[in-house]
Protein backbone atom coordinates (compact mmCIF):
# COMPACT_ATOMS: atom_id res chain seq x y z
CA UNK A 1 0.00 0.00 0.00
CA UNK A 2 1.42 3.35 -1.08
CA UNK A 3 1.73 6.26 1.35
CA UNK A 4 1.16 9.98 0.74
CA UNK A 5 4.89 10.62 0.96
CA UNK A 6 5.48 8.25 -1.98
CA UNK A 7 3.86 10.81 -4.32
CA UNK A 8 5.35 14.03 -5.68
CA UNK A 9 3.68 17.45 -5.75
CA UNK A 10 0.91 17.84 -8.35
CA UNK A 11 -0.85 20.58 -10.21
CA UNK A 12 -4.11 20.51 -12.14
CA UNK A 13 -3.23 19.93 -15.79
CA UNK A 14 -5.08 22.92 -17.22
CA UNK A 15 -3.47 22.46 -20.64
CA UNK A 16 -5.69 19.50 -21.40
CA UNK A 17 -8.95 20.38 -19.68
CA UNK A 18 -11.58 23.05 -19.59
CA UNK A 19 -12.86 23.18 -16.00
CA UNK A 20 -16.42 24.23 -15.30
CA UNK A 21 -17.78 24.72 -11.79
CA UNK A 22 -21.26 23.33 -11.22
CA UNK A 23 -22.58 23.97 -7.72
CA UNK A 24 -20.13 22.00 -5.53
CA UNK A 25 -18.98 19.78 -8.39
CA UNK A 26 -16.51 20.26 -11.19
CA UNK A 27 -16.91 19.27 -14.82
CA UNK A 28 -13.72 18.72 -16.81
CA UNK A 29 -13.84 18.72 -20.60
CA UNK A 30 -10.76 17.14 -22.26
CA UNK A 31 -9.19 19.42 -24.87
CA UNK A 32 -6.66 18.29 -27.44
CA UNK A 33 -5.55 20.64 -30.23
CA UNK A 34 -8.50 22.92 -29.44
CA UNK A 35 -11.02 20.11 -29.95
CA UNK A 36 -13.34 19.70 -26.97
CA UNK A 37 -14.19 16.04 -26.36
CA UNK A 38 -17.72 16.33 -25.05
CA UNK A 39 -18.22 12.57 -24.99
CA UNK A 40 -15.30 12.14 -22.57
CA UNK A 41 -16.30 14.71 -19.98
CA UNK A 42 -15.25 13.95 -16.39
CA UNK A 43 -17.56 14.78 -13.51
CA UNK A 44 -15.81 15.27 -10.16
CA UNK A 45 -17.91 15.04 -7.00
CA UNK A 46 -17.56 17.46 -4.11
CA UNK A 47 -14.72 15.56 -2.41
CA UNK A 48 -12.70 15.17 -5.60
CA UNK A 49 -13.33 18.82 -6.49
CA UNK A 50 -12.02 19.95 -3.12
CA UNK A 51 -8.92 17.79 -3.47
CA UNK A 52 -8.19 19.00 -7.00
CA UNK A 53 -8.46 22.63 -5.89
CA UNK A 54 -5.85 22.02 -3.20
CA UNK A 55 -3.39 20.52 -5.68
CA UNK A 56 -1.80 23.82 -6.56
CA UNK A 57 1.71 22.73 -7.48
CA UNK A 58 2.99 23.80 -4.06
CA UNK A 59 1.41 21.66 -1.34
CA UNK A 60 2.55 18.11 -0.71
CA UNK A 61 -0.13 15.44 -0.36
CA UNK A 62 0.62 15.31 3.37
CA UNK A 63 -0.13 19.03 3.62
CA UNK A 64 -3.36 18.56 1.64
CA UNK A 65 -4.33 15.76 4.01
CA UNK A 66 -3.74 17.99 7.05
CA UNK A 67 -5.88 20.73 5.49
CA UNK A 68 -8.78 18.35 4.94
CA UNK A 69 -8.44 16.99 8.49
CA UNK A 70 -8.61 20.56 9.85
CA UNK A 71 -11.92 21.09 8.01
CA UNK A 72 -13.78 17.88 8.71
CA UNK A 73 -14.20 15.48 11.60
CA UNK A 74 -12.85 12.39 9.81
CA UNK A 75 -10.25 9.72 10.48
CA UNK A 76 -6.78 10.36 9.08
CA UNK A 77 -6.69 6.86 7.55
CA UNK A 78 -9.90 7.55 5.62
CA UNK A 79 -8.63 10.87 4.21
CA UNK A 80 -5.30 9.34 3.20
CA UNK A 81 -7.08 6.51 1.44
CA UNK A 82 -9.42 8.95 -0.34
CA UNK A 83 -6.49 11.12 -1.48
CA UNK A 84 -4.50 8.16 -2.82
CA UNK A 85 -7.55 6.77 -4.61
CA UNK A 86 -8.23 10.19 -6.18
CA UNK A 87 -4.59 10.69 -7.21
CA UNK A 88 -4.40 7.26 -8.87
CA UNK A 89 -7.62 7.84 -10.83
CA UNK A 90 -6.68 11.41 -11.73
CA UNK A 91 -3.26 10.30 -13.01
CA UNK A 92 -4.95 7.67 -15.15
CA UNK A 93 -7.07 10.40 -16.76
CA UNK A 94 -4.15 12.85 -17.14
CA UNK A 95 -5.85 15.37 -14.89
CA UNK A 96 -2.64 16.02 -12.93
CA UNK A 97 0.82 17.13 -13.89
CA UNK A 98 3.81 16.32 -11.73
CA UNK A 99 5.83 19.23 -10.37
CA UNK A 100 9.54 18.48 -10.16
Amino acid sequence: MKKLTDYPIYNFNTNFFLAKEAKDDLVLVPVIDDIYFMSNVIHLNQTATELLKELDGKKTLTEVCELILSRYDVEKDVVEKDIIQFIEQALEKNILEEIN
Binding site: K20, A22, D34, I35, H43
Partner: protein, 290 residues
Protein backbone atom coordinates in the same frame (compact mmCIF):
# COMPACT_ATOMS: atom_id res chain seq x y z
CA UNK B 1 -38.02 34.47 -49.53
CA UNK B 2 -37.67 34.06 -45.76
CA UNK B 3 -37.19 30.99 -43.62
CA UNK B 4 -37.69 30.82 -39.86
CA UNK B 5 -35.87 28.44 -37.50
CA UNK B 6 -36.50 28.68 -33.77
CA UNK B 7 -36.05 32.40 -33.00
CA UNK B 8 -34.07 33.15 -36.14
CA UNK B 9 -35.13 34.62 -39.46
CA UNK B 10 -33.20 34.05 -42.68
CA UNK B 11 -33.56 36.19 -45.80
CA UNK B 12 -31.96 35.08 -49.05
CA UNK B 13 -30.50 36.47 -52.21
CA UNK B 14 -28.90 34.37 -54.95
CA UNK B 15 -27.35 34.57 -58.36
CA UNK B 16 -29.45 33.76 -61.47
CA UNK B 17 -27.83 30.37 -61.92
CA UNK B 18 -29.29 29.13 -58.64
CA UNK B 19 -32.93 28.27 -58.24
CA UNK B 20 -34.29 27.82 -54.75
CA UNK B 21 -36.91 25.16 -54.35
CA UNK B 22 -38.04 24.36 -50.86
CA UNK B 23 -37.67 20.75 -49.91
CA UNK B 24 -36.54 20.22 -46.30
CA UNK B 25 -37.45 23.85 -45.49
CA UNK B 26 -40.81 23.68 -47.27
CA UNK B 27 -42.99 24.51 -44.27
CA UNK B 28 -40.55 26.78 -42.47
CA UNK B 29 -41.55 29.96 -44.29
CA UNK B 30 -43.99 31.02 -41.55
CA UNK B 31 -42.82 32.22 -38.16
CA UNK B 32 -44.28 30.50 -35.11
CA UNK B 33 -42.52 32.70 -32.54
CA UNK B 34 -41.10 36.24 -32.66
CA UNK B 35 -37.62 36.20 -34.13
CA UNK B 36 -34.75 37.92 -32.32
CA UNK B 37 -32.03 37.42 -34.92
CA UNK B 38 -32.19 38.16 -38.62
CA UNK B 39 -29.59 36.62 -40.95
CA UNK B 40 -28.96 37.79 -44.48
CA UNK B 41 -27.86 34.93 -46.69
CA UNK B 42 -26.27 35.13 -50.12
CA UNK B 43 -25.85 32.08 -52.40
CA UNK B 44 -23.51 32.21 -55.39
CA UNK B 45 -21.94 29.94 -57.97
CA UNK B 46 -18.15 29.92 -58.22
CA UNK B 47 -15.57 28.33 -60.50
CA UNK B 48 -13.09 27.76 -57.70
CA UNK B 49 -13.34 27.34 -53.94
CA UNK B 50 -10.50 28.87 -51.96
CA UNK B 51 -10.16 27.32 -48.53
CA UNK B 52 -8.71 29.21 -45.56
CA UNK B 53 -4.97 28.73 -45.22
CA UNK B 54 -5.32 27.00 -41.89
CA UNK B 55 -5.69 23.58 -40.37
CA UNK B 56 -9.39 22.68 -39.99
CA UNK B 57 -10.71 23.01 -36.45
CA UNK B 58 -13.10 20.12 -36.90
CA UNK B 59 -13.91 17.60 -39.59
CA UNK B 60 -16.31 14.79 -40.25
CA UNK B 61 -17.93 12.72 -42.95
CA UNK B 62 -21.20 11.13 -43.96
CA UNK B 63 -22.35 7.78 -42.60
CA UNK B 64 -20.94 4.78 -44.43
CA UNK B 65 -24.27 3.99 -46.12
CA UNK B 66 -25.00 7.55 -47.29
CA UNK B 67 -26.40 7.78 -50.82
CA UNK B 68 -24.38 10.91 -51.50
CA UNK B 69 -21.14 10.61 -49.51
CA UNK B 70 -19.39 13.76 -48.35
CA UNK B 71 -16.71 15.13 -46.06
CA UNK B 72 -16.95 18.37 -44.13
CA UNK B 73 -14.43 20.65 -42.48
CA UNK B 74 -14.90 23.56 -40.10
CA UNK B 75 -12.50 26.49 -39.81
CA UNK B 76 -12.93 29.27 -37.27
CA UNK B 77 -11.06 32.42 -38.23
CA UNK B 78 -11.80 35.55 -36.22
CA UNK B 79 -15.59 36.04 -36.35
CA UNK B 80 -16.03 33.82 -39.38
CA UNK B 81 -16.98 30.17 -39.26
CA UNK B 82 -16.12 28.43 -42.54
CA UNK B 83 -17.99 25.25 -43.42
CA UNK B 84 -16.50 23.35 -46.35
CA UNK B 85 -18.31 20.34 -47.82
CA UNK B 86 -16.80 18.07 -50.41
CA UNK B 87 -19.35 15.89 -52.22
CA UNK B 88 -18.04 12.75 -53.87
CA UNK B 89 -21.00 11.56 -55.90
CA UNK B 90 -23.37 14.52 -56.09
CA UNK B 91 -24.40 14.98 -59.71
CA UNK B 92 -24.65 18.76 -59.60
CA UNK B 93 -22.54 20.13 -56.76
CA UNK B 94 -18.89 19.32 -56.19
CA UNK B 95 -18.02 21.53 -53.27
CA UNK B 96 -19.63 24.07 -50.95
CA UNK B 97 -18.04 26.78 -48.84
CA UNK B 98 -20.29 28.62 -46.40
CA UNK B 99 -19.11 31.48 -44.21
CA UNK B 100 -21.22 32.16 -41.14
CA UNK B 101 -20.60 35.42 -39.35
CA UNK B 102 -22.72 35.63 -36.23
CA UNK B 103 -21.66 39.21 -35.40
CA UNK B 104 -22.66 40.53 -38.81
CA UNK B 105 -25.58 38.07 -39.06
CA UNK B 106 -24.55 36.95 -42.51
CA UNK B 107 -24.20 33.62 -44.25
CA UNK B 108 -22.36 33.58 -47.58
CA UNK B 109 -22.53 30.34 -49.54
CA UNK B 110 -20.43 29.52 -52.58
CA UNK B 111 -21.33 26.47 -54.65
CA UNK B 112 -18.87 24.84 -57.00
CA UNK B 113 -20.98 22.95 -59.57
CA UNK B 114 -19.93 19.97 -61.65
CA UNK B 115 -20.80 22.04 -64.70
CA UNK B 116 -20.78 25.83 -64.76
CA UNK B 117 -23.54 25.84 -67.37
CA UNK B 118 -26.08 23.84 -65.40
CA UNK B 119 -28.70 25.58 -63.33
CA UNK B 120 -28.53 24.48 -59.68
CA UNK B 121 -31.79 23.74 -57.89
CA UNK B 122 -31.35 23.59 -54.13
CA UNK B 123 -33.07 24.06 -50.82
CA UNK B 124 -31.06 26.73 -48.92
CA UNK B 125 -30.75 24.29 -46.01
CA UNK B 126 -29.79 21.30 -48.14
CA UNK B 127 -28.09 18.39 -46.41
CA UNK B 128 -25.56 18.49 -44.80
CA UNK B 129 -25.10 22.27 -44.97
CA UNK B 130 -28.41 22.90 -43.16
CA UNK B 131 -27.58 20.50 -40.34
CA UNK B 132 -24.07 21.90 -39.86
CA UNK B 133 -25.32 25.49 -39.90
CA UNK B 134 -27.99 24.65 -37.34
CA UNK B 135 -25.43 23.11 -34.95
CA UNK B 136 -23.58 26.45 -34.81
CA UNK B 137 -26.62 28.72 -35.14
CA UNK B 138 -28.19 27.01 -32.11
CA UNK B 139 -24.95 27.25 -30.10
CA UNK B 140 -24.50 30.93 -30.91
CA UNK B 141 -28.06 31.49 -29.63
CA UNK B 142 -27.27 29.70 -26.34
CA UNK B 143 -29.30 26.72 -27.48
CA UNK B 144 -28.38 23.30 -28.78
CA UNK B 145 -29.46 20.47 -31.05
CA UNK B 146 -30.14 17.11 -29.48
CA UNK B 147 -30.97 13.58 -30.60
CA UNK B 148 -34.47 13.46 -29.19
CA UNK B 149 -38.12 13.17 -29.92
CA UNK B 150 -40.38 15.96 -28.73
CA UNK B 151 -44.00 15.61 -27.70
CA UNK B 152 -46.61 18.22 -26.82
CA UNK B 153 -49.38 16.88 -24.59
CA UNK B 154 -52.04 19.17 -23.09
CA UNK B 155 -49.59 22.04 -22.63
CA UNK B 156 -46.73 19.83 -21.44
CA UNK B 157 -43.64 19.50 -23.60
CA UNK B 158 -41.74 16.26 -23.14
CA UNK B 159 -38.27 15.54 -24.51
CA UNK B 160 -37.36 11.87 -24.98
CA UNK B 161 -33.67 11.77 -25.70
CA UNK B 162 -31.45 8.92 -26.73
CA UNK B 163 -29.06 7.92 -29.44
CA UNK B 164 -30.15 5.67 -32.28
CA UNK B 165 -31.94 2.50 -31.14
CA UNK B 166 -33.01 3.77 -27.71
CA UNK B 167 -36.67 4.09 -28.71
CA UNK B 168 -37.26 7.71 -29.80
CA UNK B 169 -39.51 6.75 -32.72
CA UNK B 170 -41.28 4.00 -30.75
CA UNK B 171 -42.21 6.27 -27.87
CA UNK B 172 -43.27 9.04 -30.29
CA UNK B 173 -45.68 6.69 -32.03
CA UNK B 174 -47.21 5.68 -28.70
CA UNK B 175 -47.81 9.33 -27.78
CA UNK B 176 -49.18 10.14 -31.22
CA UNK B 177 -51.67 7.29 -31.00
CA UNK B 178 -52.78 8.65 -27.63
CA UNK B 179 -53.57 12.06 -29.14
CA UNK B 180 -50.40 14.01 -28.39
CA UNK B 181 -48.56 16.09 -30.99
CA UNK B 182 -45.14 14.82 -32.03
CA UNK B 183 -42.81 17.68 -32.95
CA UNK B 184 -40.16 15.37 -34.35
CA UNK B 185 -38.95 11.91 -33.44
CA UNK B 186 -35.24 12.33 -34.09
CA UNK B 187 -33.78 15.80 -33.63
CA UNK B 188 -34.82 18.92 -31.71
CA UNK B 189 -33.54 22.44 -31.27
CA UNK B 190 -33.69 23.47 -27.58
CA UNK B 191 -33.46 27.12 -26.58
CA UNK B 192 -34.50 29.32 -23.68
CA UNK B 193 -36.97 31.98 -24.79
CA UNK B 194 -38.43 34.49 -22.32
CA UNK B 195 -37.51 32.33 -19.33
CA UNK B 196 -39.08 29.20 -20.79
CA UNK B 197 -37.20 26.32 -22.33
CA UNK B 198 -38.64 25.63 -25.77
CA UNK B 199 -38.29 22.74 -28.18
CA UNK B 200 -38.48 23.35 -31.91
CA UNK B 201 -38.42 20.92 -34.79
CA UNK B 202 -36.07 21.72 -37.66
CA UNK B 203 -35.92 21.08 -41.40
CA UNK B 204 -34.72 17.51 -41.91
CA UNK B 205 -34.11 15.30 -44.90
CA UNK B 206 -36.87 12.69 -45.33
CA UNK B 207 -39.25 14.60 -43.05
CA UNK B 208 -42.09 16.76 -44.29
CA UNK B 209 -43.17 18.58 -41.18
CA UNK B 210 -44.68 21.92 -40.35
CA UNK B 211 -42.69 23.93 -37.80
CA UNK B 212 -43.79 23.28 -34.24
CA UNK B 213 -42.70 24.27 -30.76
CA UNK B 214 -43.58 23.42 -27.19
CA UNK B 215 -42.52 24.49 -23.71
CA UNK B 216 -40.49 21.80 -21.97
CA UNK B 217 -41.92 20.34 -18.76
CA UNK B 218 -39.65 17.33 -18.39
CA UNK B 219 -36.68 15.70 -20.08
CA UNK B 220 -36.35 11.93 -20.24
CA UNK B 221 -33.28 9.93 -21.21
CA UNK B 222 -34.86 6.82 -22.59
CA UNK B 223 -33.99 3.19 -22.93
CA UNK B 224 -35.96 0.02 -23.64
CA UNK B 225 -36.89 -1.99 -20.58
CA UNK B 226 -39.13 -4.98 -19.72
CA UNK B 227 -40.97 -2.71 -17.23
CA UNK B 228 -41.59 1.02 -17.04
CA UNK B 229 -39.42 2.79 -14.48
CA UNK B 230 -38.16 6.29 -13.86
CA UNK B 231 -35.18 7.68 -11.91
CA UNK B 232 -34.59 11.36 -11.26
CA UNK B 233 -31.12 12.38 -12.44
CA UNK B 234 -31.35 16.16 -12.26
CA UNK B 235 -28.35 18.31 -11.45
CA UNK B 236 -24.87 18.04 -12.92
CA UNK B 237 -25.21 14.33 -13.66
CA UNK B 238 -28.43 15.00 -15.57
CA UNK B 239 -26.80 17.85 -17.48
CA UNK B 240 -23.93 15.62 -18.57
CA UNK B 241 -26.25 12.79 -19.54
CA UNK B 242 -28.24 15.22 -21.69
CA UNK B 243 -25.00 16.53 -23.14
CA UNK B 244 -23.98 13.08 -24.29
CA UNK B 245 -27.00 13.11 -26.65
CA UNK B 246 -26.35 16.62 -28.00
CA UNK B 247 -25.18 17.21 -31.55
CA UNK B 248 -22.02 19.17 -30.92
CA UNK B 249 -18.87 19.83 -32.89
CA UNK B 250 -17.10 22.14 -30.48
CA UNK B 251 -13.61 23.54 -30.85
CA UNK B 252 -13.85 26.95 -29.29
CA UNK B 253 -13.40 27.63 -25.56
CA UNK B 254 -16.02 30.36 -25.45
CA UNK B 255 -18.71 28.31 -27.16
CA UNK B 256 -17.88 25.15 -25.17
CA UNK B 257 -18.07 27.14 -21.94
CA UNK B 258 -21.39 28.62 -22.99
CA UNK B 259 -22.74 25.20 -24.03
CA UNK B 260 -21.91 23.78 -20.59
CA UNK B 261 -23.54 26.79 -18.92
CA UNK B 262 -26.70 26.21 -20.96
CA UNK B 263 -26.82 22.52 -20.02
CA UNK B 264 -26.17 23.19 -16.34
CA UNK B 265 -28.87 25.87 -16.36
CA UNK B 266 -31.49 23.65 -17.97
CA UNK B 267 -30.62 20.84 -15.55
CA UNK B 268 -31.38 23.17 -12.64
CA UNK B 269 -34.69 24.36 -14.08
CA UNK B 270 -36.18 21.33 -15.83
CA UNK B 271 -36.48 17.90 -14.18
CA UNK B 272 -34.39 15.25 -15.93
CA UNK B 273 -35.22 11.56 -15.60
CA UNK B 274 -33.93 8.26 -16.81
CA UNK B 275 -36.94 6.47 -18.28
CA UNK B 276 -36.94 2.75 -18.98
CA UNK B 277 -40.03 1.89 -20.98
CA UNK B 278 -41.75 -1.07 -22.54
CA UNK B 279 -43.41 -0.29 -25.88
CA UNK B 280 -47.05 -0.20 -24.81
CA UNK B 281 -49.52 2.65 -24.25
CA UNK B 282 -49.03 2.29 -20.49
CA UNK B 283 -45.89 4.41 -20.72
CA UNK B 284 -47.96 7.43 -21.80
CA UNK B 285 -50.00 7.51 -18.59
CA UNK B 286 -46.90 6.48 -16.64
CA UNK B 287 -45.15 9.67 -17.83
CA UNK B 288 -48.27 11.84 -17.40
CA UNK B 289 -48.45 10.75 -13.74
CA UNK B 290 -44.84 11.72 -12.89
Amino acid sequence: MDIFLATQKFSFIKCDQIEFYLDVSKFFTEQIIDYNTHFHCCYNITGIITLPKAVPDFLGHSLDDAQIPYEWKIYKINDNLFIHIDFFENETIKEVLAVLNFSEKTILVELLPRSLTTKIKIDPFFHPLGSLLMVYLSHYSSGFLIHASGVSDNGNGYVFSGVSGKGKSTISQLWKQQGATVLNDDRLWIQKVDNEWKIFNTPMAYYSQEPKMATISKIFLITHSPENYVNNISGTTGALRVMSNCIQHLFDKKITDSHLDTLLEISEQIPIYKLGFKPTFEVVDFVRDI
